[in-house]
Symmetry: C2
Amino acid sequence: MSEAPAKNDNALEEIRALWGESQTLASAAALLAWDQETYMPASAGPARAEQSALLARLVHERRTAPRVGELLDRLDDENAAGETGGIDDRETTRSIARELRRDHERAVSLPSSLVADLARAGSIAQDAWKHARANNDFAAFAPHLGAVLSLTREKARCLKRDGQEEIYDALLDEYEPDTTGADIDAVFGPLRERLAAIVDRARSSGTRPDTSVLDRPVPEDTQHDFGLFVLRACGFDLDAGRLDVTTHPFCEGLAPGDTRLTTRYKGDRWSDALYGTLHEMGHGLYEQGLPKADHWGTPLAESVSLGIHESQSRLWENLVGRSGAFWAWALPHLARRYGEAFTDASVETLTRAVNTVEPSLIRVEADEGTYNLHVMIRYELERSLIREDLSIGDLPGAWNERYRDLLGIEVPDDRRGCLQDVHWSFGLVGYFPTYTLGNLYASQLWEAMGRSIDLPAAVAAGEFGPLLAWLREHIHAHGRRYSAAQLCERATGEPLSAEPLLRHLDAVVRESYNA
Amino acid sequence: MSEAPAKNDNALEEIRALWGESQTLASAAALLAWDQETYMPASAGPARAEQSALLARLVHERRTAPRVGELLDRLDDENAAGETGGIDDRETTRSIARELRRDHERAVSLPSSLVADLARAGSIAQDAWKHARANNDFAAFAPHLGAVLSLTREKARCLKRDGQEEIYDALLDEYEPDTTGADIDAVFGPLRERLAAIVDRARSSGTRPDTSVLDRPVPEDTQHDFGLFVLRACGFDLDAGRLDVTTHPFCEGLAPGDTRLTTRYKGDRWSDALYGTLHEMGHGLYEQGLPKADHWGTPLAESVSLGIHESQSRLWENLVGRSGAFWAWALPHLARRYGEAFTDASVETLTRAVNTVEPSLIRVEADEGTYNLHVMIRYELERSLIREDLSIGDLPGAWNERYRDLLGIEVPDDRRGCLQDVHWSFGLVGYFPTYTLGNLYASQLWEAMGRSIDLPAAVAAGEFGPLLAWLREHIHAHGRRYSAAQLCERATGEPLSAEPLLRHLDAVVRESYNA
């Protein structure tokens, strides 16, 4: 990388060098974004917006370079003629070419100025969101959201392809390739009713798990130490990653050997940070498992879709972390760190406490039963915002109305309402539905994994290695070689289905509520 | 910055946009460097080296663009014809053009590949240094140092101009413009003897200040809180900056609104971190005082030389921070935070304790009297290394020999010997002598400042505002408008002289040692 990539007789090598440069710049941009969320001084906002905009433009210039198109054509010709290496090599080259073409064509359809404007507006709006959320001041955020949504609509219009009914589909396609709003509707429609029925069963059971054990105060440092212990135990490599504190937890797999998780601590609800950490760890294990050593700079080193990414986080957070087996292993370690207050806690009480199904205000802290209802509300609202069926001024009212209708709760303020999530401030629209896809994938993968591993026994023994190895083999190692749908079929033997998630939630409610 | 800088009828505007892009990229690179020292996971080293190398190349491409040369020629023509604005504007434009030409010409003389290779080798060697230092393993570091020095020599050969006797001068010129090794020799020669005499006076006085108050254990968190308190009191804007922990303390003024300091804590010598923090704060106040709001992207927003930069850090660290007046103000605040152990400490004891003059091993922890001797050792050694009069394998021996000769102490291991400083690992050669220039400038500025401000009274009252305002007006506000020598004459009425430093050290030894 010391010199600008030179022309090369080997099209694959040249395109790897060219594209690799865009990835290296993107990884520097990712560090800027991580820093903005973690350690950046408040007054650095404007300078950071310029840095981010410039890097976004430079990444975009490289991805849209005409030479990339020429090389992709050459690669296709070579592949068609069977000129490159053995069968495995040809298959690899074909995958790289296919996915690079997708990325190149999407990039080419976006004007450079729009990419930079979105990066800058997103950087500024994200700062505005942080302050607006802290001050419960939606009005202060509204114009920034307006600017970002307007640029996002412009982006969607540029990206929209034949076969996509509305511009929202073009946004969704960025996060979950080849998925449309109609596909989401087809999944969410029936799921919504069956989820509501499960939540109702819990609500009308007359029982309520005792959650007082979760409210015992634990100092942040102690929570952090336990979080690190769990990360290590599950196989997250802390020499190639970190755990920091942010307003909104996230995972950034920013470069080979550099996967950063964040969480947030509440003194009076230690389980929030623990499950937040387990969640981001799931993302982080995927990032650490991607074949970056061999394929960095190409799509093969990247995650295939956000739905699959989310399946990894939800699997560790919920299917591992909320199981009785997990607490059978974790409780003694927890009690040793969190002190005497926890020595009387039982595995059963704890497991029930973390499996409460109860409508609540905050998505990232929501239980498994209601979580997808939070997602559905955002999906509907963002689609309406993009269609301009809903104005920004009406967003808080619409938000609160849906929480009343679907979850049966009153939103007391925007901080705990439509200001709670960072996504829209960045222009991440079409992103939320992938959370529910992730939950579906997670349960289906878990059932498949259970056919070859005695999961309760492994988890109860703290032997997470076989689980991680299974995920590495069936999901992580492939990067973008297969589509999300193909990956699911290869790993589980079936196309994606809602049944495993519903079976899982049914069991949760049965066990926690005897209902 | 959303679009590539367009051609513009206004040469000044166009060059500001063009050059500004290189500065924005350089500021992103500075964040990568800061992160590498603070929070980067160990395994991210190779990826970070690639990111740094790529950004260095992109910065260099912009600084060497032929268009920059054309625009500079046009600016010179316009300036000669008196075409631009009023006298102040013309003066400003002329300064910008003069300094940009210097930077452009230096950049043009360096091949792009060398710049990237140095950035990469430096990034890798810095990691190697960190491990070698921790493990006291010079042999593990030697090949990395060899690679960096060889590239640095190549760089010096490219940069060497007429009038420079040896390639070392070309390196020195980067940090202290228009200064040669012969200039440094002329200053260091006589200074060395007079410093040695002062150190001898302290040594042979028969007294030794009681430093036990510095050894009382203070937890790191408490030290950190006190450091932040002092930063605020002195006027460092923490909304536009940070304080973190690193192996080697530094200050990075990485962008407008973003000046980051680091320090390191020792549980058994709290004063090390405090003076380290005051030192970096001096650099940070300069960075925050540079006219970045008006001139970011041009040399006017940049520090003029490292000697002047260091004068700011040494002024706050030594002339403010080691004075009796400082402790008259600081001691009650310290005692309130550090606890009962400090309520019996007296201002006089503390002041004497922090003004010990005694040969020691570590430069950054050295007292004012011996500090410049540490610098002289490094200066001699690095000049010999560049001249290839000294081989890398012989470095530890030569280091230890000089410590024996000049400071009269035995170096017990390389960790506390030639592995203690990070500079050479980055290729920062020609940098050390600026530390002593900084000490000279600091004392001279302090005397000048004392002619208009009652310094002891202001400091004892914790009123640092007038000091900072004086520095802002006479130093910070000018950026690179004047040379270091001009700035010194304008601010103090005299060319740089060693006398103020010697007068100051003479007083220190008299007061602390009655000698």
